[in-house]
């Protein structure tokens, strides 16, 4: 019988591992900037801060950058040059400290950028990135991961660390890339003993006790099917400024725009893609200036429907990891969670957590 190999590593040794990895990888980790955290490239393990609640922007930017060159066209030679290889860094990347919600965000993007048609710009970056995930044992401020079942992750990482007693991490190995990290520094890892497995189990128990369930996904798609004309959309639509911040910080929002930019020498043009959001006025504009989502509330509503209803049709799962970033980012104070919970309350047809009402 083959038994899955799990390890433990001392917290202080994780820095040593990162130190060694810096020779082979571009390393990204949460770092503190003023009062917030962001994923940033680091050159010194001391600058990473794994004791964080949520980063302001998601790690999506490392796989699908805000602007990216797709191809160049040479007007004289009439040739297209695929810029795929140029836009992907030569050095592989290592991201340290990704929470379960964000790994689930990547699993969602894997679906969008895979399937019938490949999106190689995303996929090549994903292949070249190694991920060390980090289990949260306590809830962050705005997150509601447990309500959408993304506090748990079964794949999509290479190593996954869970804090256990004695300032150590329990290490799940998720892929051959994870194995490679371990062979990079075998002296830092110890095979997990039965006591360690016990400690791991205790940590998970602590996590499950501390993470709240704010609402139930059960009947959400049904609810949304019924709630198209709910007055709530007009109410929150009045506050929404259509600034798009909620979509830009979201780990699963993936809409993009494509534009051609001609070089100053007029000899070539570059086709770029840029993050776009359905909150912007011209997103659904078509010929004859007909706009399928003319009013701000229509665009705000669409974001909810795309993520929580359309994605279920398209990819089989909702496009929300409960990370709470959109809640923190919204200048109008609109809470994605509160809106969902309110809809659930208005339309619930299945038992709710309070026991059915």
């Amino acid at each position: 019988m083959v038994i899955m190999q799990n390890y433990v590593i001392k917290k202080e040794d994780l820095n040593k591992l990162v130190e060694r990895a810096l020779d082979d990888y571009d390393v990204y980790a949460p770092v503190q900037k003023k009062s917030i955290h962001v994923y940033d490239q680091i050159s010194d393990p001391a600058s990473m801060d794994l004791n964080y609640g949520q980063t302001m922007t998601s790690a999506k930017k490392l796989f699908n950058p805000p602007v990216e060159n797709m191809m160049t066209f040479d007007f004289d030679k009439k040739e297209i040059k695929d810029r795929l290889e140029d836009t992907i860094p030569e050095t592989p990347s290592l991201i340290v400290g990704l929470h379960a919600c964000d790994i689930n965000g990547l699993l969602f993007l894997d679906r969008v950028y895979g399937g019938e048609y490949d999106d190689l710009y995303y996929q090549k970056r994903r292949e070249k990135t190694t991920i060390i995930g980090l289990n949260c044992l306590e809830s962050c401020e705005s997150g509601f991961c447990r309500s959408v079942n993304t506090h748990i992750v079964l794949e999509g990482y290479d190593l996954f660390l869970t804090p256990i007693e004695d300032e150590r991490y329990y290490v799940n190995v998720g892929s051959p890339k994870g194995d490679r990290l371990i062979t990079l520094a075998p002296d830092l890892f110890e095979e997990a003993t039965e006591d360690d497995v016990d400690a791991f189990r205790k940590s998970l128990q602590k996590k499950h006790e501390s993470l709240p369930v704010e609402f139930h996904l059960d009947n959400l798609t049904e609810t949304l099917d019924m709630a198209w004309d709910d007055p709530i959309w007009e109410e929150i639509g009045e506050d929404c400024m259509n600034c798009g911040s909620c979509a830009l910080v979201c780990p699963t929002c993936y809409c993009f725009d494509v534009v051609d930019e001609v070089g100053l020498d007029l000899k070539e043009s570059t086709r770029k893609r840029k993050w776009d959001t359905c909150l912007y006025y011209d997103f659904a504009l078509v010929a004859g200036n007909h706009n399928f989502r003319e009013e701000p509330e229509a665009r705000l509503k669409y974001r909810f429907y795309h993520k929580m209803r359309g994605a279920v049709h398209d990819q089989g799962i909702i496009a929300c990891t409960g990370c709470g970033r959109c809640i923190d980012a919204c200048p109008a104070g609109i809470s994605f969670l509160d809106v969902l919970a309110q809809l659930q309350k208005n339309w619930a047809s299945a038992p709710t957590i309070e026991g059915g009402n």
Binding site: I80, D82, Y254, L285
Partner: protein, 282 residues
């Protein structure tokens, strides 16, 4: 010989050369393209109702329905209306100029389900572009399909496209009726005047064993669908092609999403049954 038409990177178009252009109206021109790569040109195949993404390098990319039929291999024909930056630039192309094409994308018309049935086609203005592909397909594979009727409406007589086929080729094909109408006429027009739905009063449509295909400006759908439902057409036997802004054509950018469906992948052809359940569809 089987050639691999799948490209390494889906977004990179294939180069194609403009072979010929025929101005149809003040705004619309038929463009004929051939791929530079001979293998690809020889093996390029598609279904009526599918579209391609056309790149005008330096300006942008936009979706266009293929107007030729796979039953007549040769150039890839696109009927294009001047509407904005990309289409203006396309209209400035001269034979020999190079563009990018990728595709074909989308589901196309349900040819298999249409076999053995009568077909009613209702086209408005430039909506005839994708429908011309299916009309010529049916004429070329005549034995596979029942009777075909075409209702075509345009605003003015001189705004009609594919006039030669409308007046000569199609009416003379076996088992085909063609009825035309214009919203406003000039002295030269002897035919029907009125919106396309007025043709339903002029011609007896039997919905039994008939499939309806519609394409035209958004306002047309509601009125045509109402006529068809009054005639007892089944909601899942009314097919319509929807138009949305598209950036990727392959289900990645979400620009074309309607309700929970993507026009580029789930469509552009939908049944009325599907459309009536989609928010913001028509």
């Amino acid at each position: 010989m089987q050639v691999e038409v799948k490209r390494e990177n889906e977004y990179i178009p294939n180069l194609a050369v403009l072979k010929n252009r025929t101005d149809m109206t003040e705004l619309e021109t038929l463009f004929e393209f051939e791929f530079k790569d001979k293998d690809l040109q020889d093996h390029f195949s598609y279904k009526p109702g599918q579209f391609i993404q056309l790149s005008m390098f330096g300006i942008g990319e936009a979706p266009f329905s293929i107007s030729s039929t796979p039953t007549r291999p040769g150039t890839i024909e696109l009927g294009i209306r001047r509407a904005g930056d990309v289409t203006e630039a396309i209209h400035r192309l001269e034979p020999g100029d190079v563009v990018g094409l990728r595709g074909p994308y989308g589901n196309g018309f349900p040819l298999e389900k249409m076999k053995g049935k009568d077909i009613l086609i209702v086209a408005g203005g430039i909506g005839l572009v994708p429908l011309r592909s299916v009309i010529n397909y049916i004429i070329d594979e005549r034995d596979d399909f029942g009777h075909m009727t075409l209702f075509y409406g345009a605003c003015l007589p001189e705004e009609r496209i594919f006039v030669d086929e409308l007046e000569n080729d199609w009416p003379s094909a076996p088992d085909v009726d063609v009825l035309q109408t214009v919203d406003e006429c000039h002295d030269t027009w002897m035919g029907n005047v009125g919106v396309v739905t007025t043709l339903f009063d002029k011609y007896e449509v039997d919905s039994e064993n008939t499939v309806a295909l519609i394409c035209g400006p958004p306002v047309m759908y509601r009125f045509v669908v109402k006529e068809l439902l009054d005639l007892d057409f089944r909601r899942d036997e009314i097919y319509m092609s929807l138009e949305r802004r598209m950036k990727c054509g392959v289900g990645k950018c979400a620009h074309c999403q309607v309700g929970h469906k993507l026009v580029c992948k789930d469509g552009p052809v939908f049944t009325y049954f599907e459309v009536q359940r989609l928010q913001e569809a028509i």
